[in-house]
Amino acid sequence: MSAFPHLVRRERASLSATVLAPLAALAIATLLNLALYAVMGKSPGAVFHAMLLEPFLSWASFSEVLLKMGPLLLIAQGLAIGFRAKVFNIGAEGQFILGAIFASALPVWYPEATGGWIWPAMLLSGAIGGALWAAITAFWRVRLNANEILVSLMLSLVATQVLNYLLLGPWKDPAGFNFPQSVMFQYDAMVPILIDGTRVNWSFPLTILLSLAAYVFMQKSFMGYKLQVGGLAPRAAGYAGFSEGRAIWLSLLIGGFAAGLAGAAEVAGPLGQLQRSISTGYGYAAIIVAYLGGLHPLGIIVSALVMAAIYIGGDNAMVSAELPIAAVRVFQGSLLIAYLIAVAFIRYRLEWPKAADRRPA
């Protein structure tokens, strides 16, 4: 039995492993992927430089990283709250799209409207749209006992079709040469730029502020504690009288709200219109961001930055090293796998077979 090394449970969680796990995962995933690029005939050195260094080397590209970080951070914070309660909302992609649609309704229907209230109203309406889309999943789970993973994912696939319908039909820009996109939004429907000369806007500090709120909620508040108990030991939550249904509703509504807000900030920010390609898989990438940050609000800030850099770096590598953009998805997937392996060492240590355990030859 003991011929293989096996995991032995630690007396208590290892703090150093908690900090080291994401770093080790990043290192391992990087090495594996560079090896893969080498096999594909790309220069690993060039890809490494383009993908992981370049995003940080110029203010121009770093500001793009910050821009990309916004939606990832926001969605991941919302998802992490649910994941800690073991409510697996993996439909953030759909909630993001619905947020974008709800936010776009205002400028699409009232393209002439003016006033400083428009973009905040759009952000709010987007967040509500995302929360409403997530509410369907919550209802299905709480009232019909349906698995939230499957329902939320299916709803994401439906959301994509809703978006397509709008862009090919009623919301198509009449002057848009038949492209599947809406009209360009008016000036007041855009979130004001924060740093001149970049595309970073005021939604970024808002995102950081909400991250801090998530920190207080999850680490300090009793409500956050209740959610955690529900995730760690559902029967203990039932025993203490913490309502499971309420935890599911709260988790999904927060997740949907955050993803919807991210979707709104995207159309009212860098895009300036509703398009088919509003999301490049943010909803799925945010799952990885959430885990990589240890489901901890502060850890997620760091992991969102890393993931955003990989996005921007992937674009760089596509241009400079002719790396297919799909390589970014491979990198993301392997990063999560490496992390899930590394994280085992927080609670376990590896024990090698002792001499006494071996059969006498």
Partner: protein, 303 residues
């Protein structure tokens, strides 16, 4: 050809990717493991099969290669989820993302290319029947899938292997106590699930719609997972569910053929909407799920 004929003759072929993947997931879940990476396993199988056929390797080799690739990826799942006792949901999602990424990466240069599918084989006599005759004209993979369905049903009903699988899924601690290697049984089940997911992907890309497009699996892996719930972990019901989804996925084509005025996006969403609705109906019956469900599903086994 009217819509009914169209759906009847195409249903089984359309159902086959769902069926194969769901049967694989059934075996995995019966052993107590939840592998949510089916979509990625299918995508990987699909691209590998397509590449093999495109370069003249033939369908047999394509299925073998697709199966092998997906087995390897599913073993990564086994390593992480069982070996390192990671959360099975997160691990499944990671495998899904990785599989889809690899399929996009490998398939990059084959985008929109086509290959030749497989010929249909008619069952003599039955295929001449009116109305339902179309049901009996199918390619060889469909026939083999039906045979496999029967074998899996019989395996669970009568074989020792099926018994051991159910025992490990219901109560791994007890299975361990009476001497069954729980982890080995689960790894084998996961590999089998990987194999069938690979076949399912291969069928989708080189037989059913023999062309390559990134994202062509289009949620079918997820629907296969839902099918296992719909079928309440019973082989026969999973088969019926797969047929239903085969028919639903043909509906959009049929509707266009008959000139029904509905937005095409609504028809494309139909399989997903049906999944959501049926999932709600079946899951609301908690007793039924509990009666047929797998007690240790998704829980890591630790001695």
């Amino acid at each position: 050809m009217n819509a009914v004929d169209f759906i009847l003759s195409g249903m089984l072929a359309a159902a086959t990717p769902f069926l194969l993947a769901a049967l694989g997931e059934l075996v995995v879940e019966r052993a107590g493991v939840l592998n949510l990476g089916v979509e990625g396993l299918m995508a990987l199988g699909a691209v590998i099969a397509f590449i093999v056929v495109y370069h003249g390797g033939g369908h047999m080799l394509a299925f073998a290669a697709a199966g092998l690739a997906s087995v390897l990826l599913s073993l990564v799942f086994a390593l992480v989820a069982l070996g390192f006792r990671a959360n099975q949901v997160a691990t499944g999602l990671a495998i899904g993302i990785l599989g889809q990424g690899l399929s996009a990466l490998f398939g990059k240069t084959y985008e929109s290319l086509t290959v030749k599918g497989l010929p249909k084989l008619a069952l003599p006599g039955l295929s001449d029947l009116p109305v339902i005759g179309g049901l009996f004209v199918q390619d060889v993979v469909v026939w083999l899938s039906l045979l496999l369905t029967l074998m899996i049903w019989a395996g669970f009903a009568f074989s020792k292997t099926g018994l051991v699988l159910r025992a490990v899924g219901e109560n791994p601690k007890a299975a361990h106590a009476i001497g069954y290697p729980v982890i080995a049984v689960r790894v084998a089940a996961i590999a089998f699930g990987g194999l069938l997911a690979g076949f399912a992907g291969a069928y989708a890309s080189v037989v059913y719609t023999p062309l390559w497009a990134d994202g062509m699996i289009a949620g079918r892996g997820w629907i296969a997972i839902a099918l296992v719930v719909f079928g309440t972990w019973l082989t026969g019901r999973i088969f019926l569910g797969a047929c239903l989804f085969g028919a639903v996925s043909l509906m959009s084509l049929a509707a266009q053929a008959t000139g029904v005025e509905l937005p095409s996006q609504f028809l494309s969403s139909l399989p997903y909407l049906v999944t959501i609705i049926v999932l709600g109906i079946i899951s609301a019956n908690k007793r039924l799920l509990k009666l047929n469900g797998v007690a240790s599903l998704g829980e890591p086994f630790e001695r």
